[in-house]
């Protein structure tokens, strides 16, 4: 029930994001979702792509530091309170969100929330118990 995400270290200098997207495009890798976390000195780009291992390989070949981590993708109806309901469950269960980002699927009916929790196993159990829809990596890429 986990989705593989790749994270790339971004030095705070001009053109690094452009370089990453160029490398991915040249290798026909499609980005499904992304977020950039930035500090004064550096950034971390987090990506969900259709070909995780290929993306990791080509980025490494181009000199980037790349990591692979697991995140949880939760599908909620795209309406008021969708995210709030998931976070309410997380709060009740004492789960801490390390970071999250979201995108809306093509039909526009549902939103996909990408979560990294401090305790991923507990999070999956809690979200399943609360009957949220948890997507697999293949499902996220098929959206």
């Amino acid at each position: 029930m986990r989705v593989e995400q790749i994270a790339v270290f971004l030095e705070n200098k001009c053109g690094r994001l452009a370089e990453i997207t160029r490398v991915l495009a040249e290798n026909s890798i499609n980005i499904r979702a992304l977020s950039v976390a930035d500090t004064a000195d550096f950034g971390i780009l987090r990506l969900i792509v259709d070909q995780v291992d290929a993306a990791k390989k080509v980025l490494k070949e181009n000199g980037f530091t790349v990591g692979k981590t697991n995140v949880i993708a939760v599908e909620v109806p795209d309406r008021t309170g969708g995210l709030a309901s998931v976070l309410k469950t997380a709060e009740t269960e004492g789960l801490n969100v390390e970071y999250m980002y979201a995108f809306v699927n093509k039909t526009g009916d549902n939103a996909v929330l990408i979560f990294r929790f401090d305790d991923m196993d507990k999070a999956i159990a809690a979200l399943q118990k609360a009957e949220f829809t948890i997507l697999s990596g293949a499902q996220v890429c098929a959206l």
Binding site: E11, I44, G63, F64, T65, E98, Y99
Partner: protein, 432 residues
């Protein structure tokens, strides 16, 4: 206070005192310090071979590595119960360089420091604002005892808390400022910020050392503080500040207190002694120290010696302002920093690659150091806090070891230029 007679002795008289002291010293270290004996035996030289000052060249050199190998007290010549103080400075790796003093050494140091102050025209009537750091660093306490020896009033203000320092200088009527040249400029700028002008102060002379500074910086200090700024030289391995001092009339560097510290200039490649006037590495032999005498200590400082008589009347040779180093030591805000120390810290952090670079800049009058570290997969994380903890940890460990606050900048792999042969570890952007 006038200078002591020995400072103006004709050279033959001074040299005979030096030779007598050198011979006694060589006998003493040979008999009491095993590492010195071993090195002299290896070089095939006996204490009796020192028949003239020129024979000094037969004695083996001492380096920072010798101090490290005998850490902490292995080169002391007296039992520990005769040691009344220790100081320490940066070693080349994790361990500091430790030096020790007997009561007599402290007294001698105070007297040479007192003489140094007298060279700058300081007298009993002066109020001396001592902004050198107090602590393991020899600067603060070394100056302190010299000021008291001279009979002037010492304000032991130490470093930092700049605004309070300005208030004290104004309210106490400080007449002499002792500080690193960069801190002197920092004080001048801070004075401008709080609306205190040099006319509000009684400062007359500044005594500046512990870091390299140029003639341009001297002019800036003199202009901004309305004082005469003079240069002082010293290093803990020899004794601390006061080894050499610029007098007010000198236009050719600092008088070396030769009755206590015997200087040589050697070729940095062949280590052969060079004649007066030739540039090379400065080497010192202490003639009168008890606890921690040192023979032919290679300072790694580049300078020249001048024997021409000084208008002030002193016959002591003068050394040119230090023009550079033969190694990669940096001086950051008065603290000696070796790139190898930073490497030592990084190697202790799991997963950090051995590729790093130090970037030194001068922002305003303050030196700043950034350590550039490549982010390998081993330390990378998708979470910001993990990387921030890494930079904080490196920062704290460098501060703990070196006593210098630095910025840690994470960079992408392979962005630090790989050189063929010796890596370029330091980018020094300071225009000194």
């Amino acid at each position: 206070m006038n200078w002591e007679e020995i400072e103006t002795l004709p050279r033959p008289g001074l040299e005979s005192i030096q030779l007598n002291r050198l011979q006694k010293l060589v006998h003493r270290v040979y008999e009491t310090v095993a590492p010195y004996k071993a090195k002299m035996d290896e070089a095939g030289v006996k204490p009796g071979d020192i028949q003239s000052l020129a024979d000094l060249r037969h004695l083996p050199f001492t380096t920072k590595d010798d101090l490290r190998d005998n850490y902490p007290f292995g080169l002391f010549t007296v039992p520990m119960d005769e040691i009344v103080r220790v100081h320490a400075s940066s070693g080349t790796t994790g361990k500091p360089t430790v030096v020790g003093y007997t009561a007599q050494d402290i007294q001698m140091w105070a007297s040479v420091m007192g003489r140094a102050l007298a060279m700058a025209g300081v007298t009993k009537g002066d109020m001396v604002h001592n902004a050198y750091g107090y602590g393991l660093f020899t600067g603060g306490l070394g100056a302190h005892y010299g000021i008291e020896y001279l009979g002037a009033t010492v304000i032991p203000v130490s470093g930092g808390n700049t605004k309070r320092q300005i208030t004290i200088m104004r309210d106490f009527g400080s007449t002499v400022l002792m500080a690193t040249p960069s801190y002197a400029l920092n004080l001048a700028d801070a004075m401008a910020d709080v609306g205190v002008s040099p006319d509000d102060l009684k400062l007359r002379v500044g005594i500046h050392g512990a870091e390299p500074w140029s003639e341009n910086m001297r002019e800036e200090v003199e202009r901004k503080l309305g004082i005469k700024a003079v240069d002082i030289y010293g290093l803990s391995e020899v004794i601390g500040p006061g080894v050499a001092m610029e007098c007010l009339q000198s236009e050719r560097g600092m008088h070396i207190q030769e009755d206590h510290f015997l200087p040589e200039i050697v070729d940095p490649d062949t280590f052969e002694p060079l004649p007066y006037g030739e540039p090379g590495e400065l080497v010192f032999t202490t003639l009168t120290k008890e606890a921690f005498p040192i023979i032919r200590y290679r300072t790694k400082d580049l300078s020249r010696l001048f024997a021409e008589p000084c208008p002030c009347g002193r016959t002591l040779v003068r050394m040119e302002k230090v023009t550079g180093r033969t190694d990669d030591m940096l001086i950051i805000r008065g603290v000696n920093v070796f790139p190898s120390q930073v490497e030592h810290v990084l190697m202790g952090v799991e997963g950090v690659e051995p590729h790093y670079q130090l970037e030194v800049n001068r922002q305003g009058n303050l030196d700043t150091m950034s350590v550039l570290v490549e982010v390998s997969e081993n330390v990378f994380s998708d979470e910001i806090k993990v990387l921030e903890n890494l930079t904080k940890r490196i920062q704290v460990e460098i501060k703990d070891l070196l006593g210098v606050t630095c910025a840690v900048k994470l960079v992408e792999p392979k962005t630090i230029k790989r050189s063929e042969g010796k890596a370029q570890r330091v980018i020094d952007n300071r225009k000194l």
